[in-house]
Symmetry: C2
Subunit: 129 residues, 2 copies
């Protein structure tokens, strides 16, 4: 079962208000230190959120830390994600564009793309400059 703790709520609402950035566990603990959540609790809850598919892990190049990003907002469903390999940030490819890709891959290659589990890698606008 699962109890509803203050710490877990704090973490969730942190992610909800930062759903387009990736953070390390350390950064999260740092930003929430006034809320009294220990680094252990951060790690434990991150692991659970990840298992539940609410956040996604990834890494940035030249860095061994793991970064976490919220991916279970309503807007996240049914479309592809773009993850920048430079800064680690993930953005959403608009539904219409995603659908177009899914459709064309199905028609041309007879492959049924699962947009929810696919991440497109590349370099975002900001990092290209």
């Amino acid at each position: 079962m699962q109890y509803n703790t203050k710490q877990r709520e704090v973490l969730m609402s942190f992610f909800e208000s930062h759903h387009d950035q990736a953070f390390s566990a350390e950064e999260i603990a740092e930003q929430l230190k006034s809320e009294k959540i220990s680094i252990s609790a951060v790690y434990r809850n991150l692991a659970e959120l990840e298992k539940d598919g609410k956040i996604r892990k990834n890494i940035k190049s030249g860095n061994r830390k793991i970064f976490y990003q919220f991916v279970d907002c309503d807007e996240c469903k049914g479309h592809l994600h773009l993850t920048c390999t430079k800064c680690g940030k993930t953005e959403h490819l608009p539904d219409a564009d995603s659908n177009k890709i899914v459709k064309s891959v199905l028609q041309n290659s007879n492959f049924n793309l699962d947009s929810d589990s696919t991440i497109l890698y590349g370099v975002c606008e900001k990092c290209r400059k």
Copy 2:
């Protein structure tokens, strides 16, 4: 500058012959132990290959290890890959179709998709039946 060492060549040819799988540094060192390459050299060369864009890092859920995958082999150049989540097989999306997708993502989202390092997940024709 950069010297051409035996160890670096061994590592490169390992990746070239395993271009559609991801390995941890440890796994690589293990598989290459007969070739006399130390774990330090593996790490050092992986870092360089990554910086050069020849391999890509990623992580699997429920695991704190980093995995490395070759993304710069000749046959894999210039197009996206389709990996079936049922049977695990990877196929190539034809260059023309890949280019179309890269182009449309760049135009619509200002995101410079790296087709060589992106894998599209879904279910292949055979497995859908």
